[in-house]
Amino acid sequence: MEKTLNKLDRPNSYIGRSVTRPNAKRLLTGKGRYVTDMKLPRMLYAAFVRSPYAHAKILSVDTSAALEVEGVHLVATGEDLAKLCKPWVGTLDHFHNMKSTPQLPLATDKVVWAGQAVAAVVARSRAIAEDAAELVNVEYEELPVVTDIDAAREEGAAIINPELGTNVSFALKLESGDVEAAFKDSAVVVEETFRFGRHTAVTMEPRAIIADYNAAEEQLTVYHATQTPYQFQDLYSRHYGIAESRVRVVAPDIGGSFGMKLHVYHEDMAVVGLSMMAGRPVKYTADRMESFLSDIHARDHRVHASLAADASGSILGMKVDDVTAIGAFSSFPRTSVVEGNQVVRLMGAPYRFRNYRGDLNVVFQNKVQTSQYRAVGHPIACAVTEALMDDMARRVGLDPFEIRRRNIITQDMYPYTSPTGYKFERLSHEECLKNLHDMMDYPRLVKEQRDLREKGIYRGIGIAMFVEITNPSPAFYGVGGARISSQDGAIVKITPSGEVQCLISVGEHGQGTETIVGQIVAENLGVDRETVRVITGDTDVTPQGGANWACRGAGIGGETAFQAAKKLKENVLHVAGAILQAKPADLDMQNAQIVDAATGNIRMSLADVARISYYRSDTLPSDISPQLTVAHHYSPRGYPFAFTNGVQGCHVEVDVETGFTKILGMWVAEDCGRVINPMLVDEQVRGGAIQGLGAAFFEECRYSETGQLENGSLADYLVPMALEMPDIKIMHIETPTRDTELGAKGCGEAGTAASSAAAINAVNDAIAPLGAHVSQIPMTPQRLLRALGHA
């Protein structure tokens, strides 16, 4: 029987199936409930007074005129909130000698970026709060502004944080093998300087928060558009001195997050204090301009790198010097150096050379903080490595596929430790590369490219291999002293009617967490997935856990649900065994029935087991305790990370007269281990790829020399739109991690990790016949024209 039936043909087989998302129906009818939509009784609204200068001393803050405005409840200054809130410092212990200054909700003595909040107005409506905010009079004395990556490190540069005595937050040197000897022995060396612009997450729902402090109960409830509610429960508790058990953070529907909604923002911290001061709920929603000014930005790197190979194109060594500018301080609690750290550690990750040197310098500047955003560090490491691989291929006369084939880590080499110390359990570079080649129909593209070039049409093909960090263990933040959980928790229960509820610490922001958790639980318990209700995002209700960051929802959250459901099944069968006078091991669950494991014959319904357990436990033997609710926590124990891998291909046409690029095609072959729901993974990977293409072609936070953000609106800051984006073909190769029973790894960042790199390679391939080359993103028409010698 087993032989003829596919696993997916069995009843209640959901893992691996493209099922739809139950919660999508609500969102599709306009019934989503985002923090932006919420209103509490007697709620007040906050607006912030922001610094017009990127660097200035605050001489005085006069709030009197604002307080006069009818409808204004209070105006708070930095000093007011400093009395309530303990400062925070964005450093981690395992980044030795990392420096950053203490932060408070509102600036007190000076401002360090244009847009920093200086005072807050709380009023009956947001409009009144904004009107009054304009009447707050702040006197500043301007200070010299540091915006440039190099100028920040120059001798005699103005120091942004005088108490640190330097504009360097963190420096790191990695050295492995004998890199000098490798370069000396090599036949070919390629080198290049790359520039990666600052860009930002642009979640369609801006940041939003409502804090409701109830003094009578000393209870704080925060409705927060965040991906990490437990982290904020901890932070609000510690920084405002409220018992942790009395801090409740609720994350309802979240309109996009991408890593942006897990950092501490000054305004969000302030709102908690404002609610304590006002004694009423206070809401703050960033408008789009405020989002551009104050959401974290990302990237901003200048990388100089070189690659050495022998005459056959085998890589011998790599040298990387990454300088990244993070704003005036490091963000909290994850710090702003994680990206740079990952950049220098992920360089060359798919390839098997042993000699490597990585230098990292993380510098302060008078701009808003940069920090973790989708695919932290990956796009930089990937773009640099892959662009150099293409350069090398050109120099030694190899095809881009061939040079990669010669250098990738092969199946016989696992487990494998990279020169930067990453441990790869098993990746699938060979298979991915081969599949991409077929999927793209590479020979056809190459032929077409040659034919069209003769007609003056410049098309290019670029590929980029990537390795992605997912399922992070405590080695990520925990070891650095951060109170960020790498475990997740699930509570699964059978209701008296035999339905199932699963409360889980990983959250839902549209990626489909609730759906895949439902699939996993339903399959394990042998019930229809429609009868499984998954509940997320409320620290008073759902168990403690890390929630969503670094691609851990399926791999860690999913495994947690898997194990919890297994435990619960054992309990159910134990009770059923007592009722049926059978051995639990001889029973199984299918279609919400208790069946004979061997024959599949129905013995009794799950609903009856539940009914008896809850209402007639008197009929059960006295040694049987009906535990139809189980809690289970899971933390990764094996490899510190579950690495995933893949390769992307990009096909473009560059109009060499205008500098405009059209993306003609995009392909992704990727391996995220066991795929739980292919449909969800596909669109997740596509969405990720498009964020990388946005970075490659459009997205850049442009600043003036005085540190003013010049394109802080959705009209000026370009994000990819439907017409500019291609259809993206996706193929999955499945190499499950053996560290878990489920075998799933993450996929949320895979798309972003390599798409900019594939795009750069494609553009360079297109313009190579004209002797042109770019090494800066975004590849705007202007920059392409300059590369083509037109400007």
């Binding site: 739809t20 998302r21 999508a24 129906k25 969102l27 599709l28 009818t29 306009g30 019934k31 989503g32 409930r33 985002y34 932006t36 939509d37 409009a127 009144i128 009107d131 997450a201 642009v202 979640t203 369609m204 729902e205 801006p206 529907d253 979240i254 309109g255 996009g256 997050s257 991408f258 408008d287 789009r288 922001h509 549209g510 990626q511 489909g512 449909m679 969800l680 669109e683 997740q684 990977v685 596509r686 969405g687 790829a689 498009i690 964020q691 609106s713 959705l714 009209a715 994000v719 739109m721 439907a722 017409l723 984006m725 259809d727 993206i728 798309g751």
Partner: protein, 167 residues
């Protein structure tokens, strides 16, 4: 601040009357006064399309209009379209294709899709992508959205449904 003025309009088939500040946008009016929060605000400057509603049957940006400008007019939001089942097939296609993630852009997408499909002549993927150029989505790759609209366009064509006027 400013004097409040009375307005009356039809929203989702019901007449509503309120006294509001003239500076209140139609989007804020729908969201705050009527608690129709299906209309979202992503940019408040007419770029992202999250706030699209129908004004006398035509899609408009509710963030760019003052509520007072809608005085005496007919407004329909995603809630209204849902209730009278005008977009049931589009919603179903979006659901089946997973053409949404966080759902924040989705309600605006549906209004655009409704308008596009009501014209009855759009079928090519290129045209659908072009038609979506006023709607930003940051989560999906747009592809599932395009697939969904394409599916409905084809299904409606097969069903031979006479192209209805945008309502």
């Amino acid at each position: 601040m400013s004097e409040r003025v009375p307005i009356a309009l039809e929203v989702n088939g019901e007449t509503v009357a309120r006294t509001i500040e003239p500076r209140m946008s139609l989007a804020d009016f729908l969201r705050e006064e009527l608690e129709l929060t299906g209309t979202h605000l992503g940019c408040e400057m007419g770029v992202c399309g999250a706030c699209l509603v129908l004004l006398n049957g035509k899609a408009v940006h509710a963030c760019l209009m003052f509520a007072v400008q809608a005085h005496g007019e007919r407004v329909e939001t995603v809630e209204g379209l849902t209730e009278r089942k005008a977009i049931a097939d589009i919603q179903e296609a979006f659901h089946n294709n997973n053409a949404l993630q966080c759902g924040f852009c989705t309600t605006g997408m549906l209004v655009t899709a409704h308008e596009m499909l009501s014209r009855g002549d759009i079928l090519s993927r290129e045209e659908i992508r072009d038609g979506l150029s006023g709607n930003y989505c940051r989560c999906t790759g747009y592809q599932a959205i395009v697939n969904s609209i394409e599916t409905v366009a084809q299904a409606r064509a097969v069903a031979g449904a006479a192209p209805s006027k945008p309502e």
